[in-house]
């Protein structure tokens, strides 16, 4: 027999735990969609810190981030019945919804207050994924691997777009690059990311 590797156990345990959490959250979200307010409270308890983190990345101001978070959960309550368990993981669905609502609110203000692209910590920074313990748990391993195959500048673009809600026009303005150039770069990066994700599915 080969040597016993405790870290493999830890990974396996974490992966199983992640599966359990996912199943529990899925159930709670589905029940919330049926109008179960206790289940909705459970969704809130399980996810509010994560989703608040999402809002804080878009709104520097804590009060605005909390307003956005409240808006998000009210939307989650109203739309929980549209969550399809097979189609997306519950946390992805919640994050997507929260992020979209926050960007809508952010854009309605008409300001561009996101962090500068040349902030070195933004580029090729996958620390948040590691901090959240998601890469180790194997849930988002493919994303972590595939993001790293991209050039740092493209990673920065995708993060700025996804996290900061920047449009092509805004990215081009920040970069002082022609719109067409920025579009081509990002599209090439997305195609490459897609190919990698499919290969590692």
């Amino acid at each position: 027999m080969s040597e016993h590797d405790p870290s493999a156990d830890a990974t396996h345990f974490a992966a199983t735990r992640a599966d359990q959490n996912r199943a529990r959250l899925t159930q709670a979200l589905v029940r919330a969609g049926a109008g179960d307010r206790t289940a909705f409270a459970e969704v809130y308890r399980a996810t509010s810190a994560k989703l608040f983190g999402v809002c804080l990345r878009i709104f520097a101001d804590r009060t605005e981030a909390e307003d956005a978070l409240q808006d998000a959960y009210i939307t989650i309550w109203n739309k929980a019945a549209t969550f399809v368990p097979g189609r997306a993981s519950p946390i992805s669905w919640l994050v997507t919804l929260t992020r979209n609502r926050a960007i809508d609110r952010f854009r309605a203000r008409g300001k561009m207050a996101f962090a500068a692209l040349d902030d070195a910590s933004e580029v090729a920074d996958d620390a948040p994924l590691a901090e959240a313990g998601l890469i180790e748990a194997g849930e988002y391993k493919a994303l972590g691997l595939c993001i790293e195959t991209l050039e740092p500048r493209d990673i920065g673009f995708i993060r700025a777009a996804f996290v900061g809600g920047a449009t092509y026009a805004e990215l081009a303005a920040r970069e002082n690059s022609p719109l067409g150039t920025v579009k081509s770069r990002i599209r090439r990066a997305l195609l490459s990311l897609r190919a990698c994700l499919e290969a590692n599915a």
Partner: protein, 232 residues
Amino acid sequence: MSEDLLRDAANDSVTAAEYVLRLLTPSEHAAATARLAADPKFAAEVYAWEDQLAPLALAADEAPSPLLWGQIESVIAPLPTQENRGGAPRLWQGATALCASLAAVFGVMLMNRADPAVPSPSAPLIAALGSEAGTGAMTARFDPDRAMLQLTPVTMLTQDKAAELWVIPAGGKPYSLGLIDVVRPSEMHVHRDMMPMMTKGAMLAVTIETPGGAPHPAPNGPVVASGQIVAL
């Protein structure tokens, strides 16, 4: 021919990603949203990208204010009535007890002032406002003859914003009684036009609002306390 199909599929995938990343202009975004409803393959691409990219938006976990849940609940749930109020949390019970003792005090004062030459005074109305989330508790006593509403806050967690008092007739919409002091007991005069609403069975509620523009036509902020008006 098949090369075109492959290229179209790739382009669709990129467009789906651009949609999820919110890179598109408002009109492109609207067009893609419409396409989502009509084109199942495009929709599948969008969902796949959403699922794959969602973790990028995650940052370090951070707990929001403990009051937030109460605010969310008060928006998604109707104002509590006497019937659907569940087990009374501590703060609510405190408010009820305080209200009962206040009522006893005022009741005694009323009796001592009775004058047989004057028609007997109208029965005062009272309300004990509270919340299950513990965000606020206050007692209110309304004297219809003087049109005076006495307010005694117990706790009001309004985060240094303004507090506005509303009267909601049974089955009706809220009417503002104006901004109120959440720290000190106070008295406010109720306008003649509002008098018909101050009846048994109506609700009083306090919401958090921006001070500018009060009295507001409708509540904007969350309810921190509410209670039904009853006879003393």
